[in-house]
Symmetry: C2
Subunit: 236 residues, 2 copies
């Protein structure tokens, strides 16, 4: 088994996903929100790239969620803060989610045999699922705008670490993945601090979303692995 890591959505070419399991990572906040929303009982999440697409789906009974520049989109019921996705609000509902990088990353990965969503919240569960699917794995760090995001690299490193612990045979990890695993190993005792010091973390704190960082920094609190089925993300 081989694991490769793509440093940001801009680096992702569709052909790198063929015959693989793709794991999309956007810790702050899209994939953390997906895990939380499905955990709170949302029926499904439809990831779309544009606000216009989302608005078109509203008439079909979808609940709209998402952000642009960290903020809730005008006319949308929900933003991209995991804590907004409570059972009272989302249970049984079909959501549409559009975010700057996270939903774009899901679309980029669609050529893969399987597309999973990972955050720190479900990293170990996601590592287990990926092992069970028995394909080579591509971890796609969504990143922030056009750049690598520290928290996504940290999560990629953690998933690789978990997969190696679960595997009885040796796993071949590419150079970028090896670096991320090393980074995770040196940082695992101070996850929240790392998230707060990252570019995305600093931006969220500035905009008043520091509670989101605390929720997204929790490790393995969920066993839910969001998985793409057709166009929809459901519990895998």
């Amino acid at each position: 088994m081989r694991i490769e890591v793509i440093s940001s959505v801009n680096e992702a070419r569709a052909d790198r996903f063929t015959h693989r399991t793709a794991i999309v990572i956007d810790v702050l906040r899209a994939t953390s929100t997906m895990v939380t929303a499905l955990g709170a009982g949302a029926a499904s999440i439809y990831p779309v790239e544009t606000v216009l697409e989302a608005r078109t789906l509203q008439r079909q009974g979808y609940t709209l969620a998402g952000e642009r520049f960290c903020r809730k989109i005008p006319g949308f019921e929900l933003g991209n803060s995991p804590e907004d996705f409570t059972p009272e609000i989302v249970e049984g509902r079909r959501l549409v989610l559009t975010t700057t990088n996270g939903t774009r990353a899901i679309h980029k990965a669609m050529r893969a045999d399987f597309v999973l969503s990972a955050a720190l919240l479900n990293a170990s569960a996601c590592a287990r699922s990926a092992m069970e699917l028995r394909r080579d794995v591509v971890l796609l760090c969504a990143g922030c705008h056009d750049d690598f995001a520290l928290e996504d690299g940290l999560c990629a490193g953690m998933i690789i670490d978990r997969m190696q612990a679960l595997s009885s045979t040796s796993i071949d990890v590419d150079d970028f993945g090896t670096a991320m695993q090393g980074f995770y190993q040196s940082s695992k005792e101070r996850i929240t601090e790392i998230l707060k010091g990252s570019s995305s973390g600093k931006r969220l704190i500035k905009m008043g979303f520091s509670r989101d960082i605390d929720s997204c920094a929790q490790i393995d609190t969920s066993s839910i692995v969001p998985k793409l089925q057709g166009d929809m993300i459901i519990i895998g």
Copy 2:
């Protein structure tokens, strides 16, 4: 002071270097070779991008060195193995060097106020020079073909670690640099092993250059900081 790290030469846009100190890193092997060649008494190194350019310079009395696909170029006196660059062969001579990624990276960085070359061999010396130059710093990892190379990331992480230790004020490091510093911190006790397990390392071993890895894995054995002056690299 701010430090940014570019993951491979393909990611380098010229405008990121303006008003900065650029540190070009190609541990296996171009920048290790530069440090070794200048340490052995070479008068200067002229980094050129093409074999044709190098051949044109031969008539002007330059000694040609370089590689394509890890191997010495036909008609060149020297390859890209640091140990070929002994005082007997290079003392007082003006060299031309052309390599797949390393010399390309030097050219990409030319818009910077200062361009230094770093390897593990001179990482601390290079960190000190960069501090003295009092500019923001961009570390350019040359990488391997179009990708990130583990050994270049490791060296970038080490230089950041050294610069932070030397600085009395706090240094602002970008997300990629922070990840590389963490990777270095978790790997510093097994540098040679990391280099041998990297993609470039495995390729060099396969082609019979494993002694080069041992020479390039030495830490801080040189105080020489190769520096670009006009078109030439000399001792800074």
